[in-house]
Amino acid sequence: MSEYKPKIVALVCNWCTYTAADLAGTSRLSYPAEIRMIRLMCTGMIDQKYILKAFLDGADGVFIGGCHPGDCHYIDGNIKAEKRIGGTRNLLSQFGFEPDRLALQWIGASEGPEFQHNMTAFVERITALGPSQVADRMIL
């Protein structure tokens, strides 16, 4: 049996976390290949349904990376994201989803090493949790 490799969707902000990923790349800092990164203009554009869709379509974890509070390119998109994601974690936990599969981190554009560290840690966390039940059992 092959080693379990989780499927992870990362929704990242163009101005910070995505740039940090670029920096990590140009600095030759590697991060796990389980991450499927989707670039957005701002975490403030993340609708709860993007997260739900990822989980229902088989993601084992969803990582959201945005700008540090006060650094948002669009003033406070990241704070709006924080509220929505807080609500989504609260919602999911009521239905027997593990809220730890959904993470929000602030990673600034200059933080290449932090990006690498966060991605590695998140993959480790999801690997420890194992495959998501949702992908298998949520058939409706």
Binding site: K49, K83, G87, D136, I139, L140
Partner: protein
């Protein structure tokens, strides 16, 4: 009284439940001519539609007219949420509400109404009829109106009688212009309110505990919505689900055949219509904070899914998480939009 409001030109129009010859349940009706006000039945124990939507349609842009809106407490709460969502304004509205003893499903109301005249009067004095209200209503402890100008008080009043209570200066001025003088407080009112509140809170807790337990697993949740046919009636009937173009009605969810086949292939099987879990979870996450517990979603479900039980149970926790009470205060910002110092962002 409503007739006089129009007759004395204190208001230009009145929106209130009224029976008509063509429907077996009273429908929200907009009156402008006091002489045409027939069949007005503001306390009828039925609500075929949440009047909040109709009230919002009347106030969505300034008409320069004063409109009296006769609404149930939950409909006022929904209207307040719609104001916060910039769907309407209460500037030229006078809100009249009532001690809400609940509503029956249309069919039950219609059957009871056929057994004799004066269903509303009979309902107000008969505990047996009051036991036939919807599950949502019988587990609702927000039965006293907030944010109304005037309350029609039946709790604590003698059978066949009713008191008026002005909750705002606007309401007080109106009652005075109508020639009402301040009378004695209804002696039994406090006692009656407390008794009803206790009863309702108890049954609410029982219902919420049972529903939360049932939905606490993925299988339990799926069992709850298993019969859903994706008709989206609950979305249409919901007074706070206000988007003109719902994403579930757009091409985003009109999947091409290849995608459906691919989904089925991935798991070996997929239930159709698809995206049922997605629909309910999305609605819960979009408007859970604003659920006012009117129960219309359960009433309109053709598959008899108790959507409102799920919504109210989940939303109560969402609202606690955001420390938010929908419909409490028109100046209280929507929680997801509070970004700085407790203020709403741009």
């Amino acid at each position: 009284m409503l007739q006089e409001l129009l007759g004395k030109k204190l208001a230009d129009a009145v929106l209130v439940l009224a029976s008509n010859p063509w429907s077996d349940v009273p429908m929200p009706t907009l009156f402008t001519d006091p002489d045409r006000m027939e069949g007005v039945d503001p306390l009828a124990p039925v609500a075929p539609v949440s009047s909040a939507r109709q009230a919002s349609a009347l106030t969505r842009s300034p008409s320069g007219k004063t409109v009296v809106l006769v609404l149930r407490p939950c409909e006022i709460r929904a209207l307040i949420e719609l104001v916060k969502l910039n769907q309407c304004s209460l500037e030229n509205a006078i809100i009249i509400s009532m001690d809400c003893l609940g509503r029956m499903e249309n069919k039950i109301f219609s059957d009871e109404a056929k057994t004799g005249p004066g269903i509303t009067e009979r309902f107000l004095s008969s505990p047996e009829l009051q036991g036939k209200i919807t599950t949502t209503c019988s587990t609702c402890n927000d039965f006293l109106p907030e944010n109304a100008d005037i309350t029609l008080c039946t709790l604590g009043a003698e059978p066949g009688h009713m008191g008026f209570e002005a909750l705002t200066d606007k309401g007080k001025a109106l009652l005075e212009s109508l020639g009402f003088k301040k009378g004695d407080d209804l002696p039994k009112r406090k006692q009656d309110i407390a008794a009803l509140a206790d009863k309702r809170s108890l049954s609410k807790k029982e219902l919420f505990d049972a529903t939360a337990l049932q939905m606490s697993t993925i299988d339990g949740f799926q069992t709850f919505i298993g019969r859903c046919l994706n008709c989206y009636n609950c979305r249409t009937a919901c007074p706070v689900c206000y988007c003109k173009e719902c994403v579930f009605l757009t091409d985003v969810f009109a999947h091409p055949p290849e995608l459906l086949l691919e989904r089925a292939t991935r798991r070996g099987a997929v239930k159709m219509p698809t995206d049922t879990s997605m629909f309910h979870l999305t609605r819960l996450s979009h408007i859970g904070h604003a659920c006012v517990g009117c129960g219309q979603c359960s009433s309109v479900c053709p598959s008899d899914i108790q959507v409102a039980d799920m919504f109210r149970t989940v939303s109560e926790k969402t609202q606690a998480f955001f420390n938010y009470t929908p419909g409490r205060d028109v100046t209280e910002p929507i929680p997801q939009l509070v970004v700085r110092n407790g203020k709403r962002g741009d």
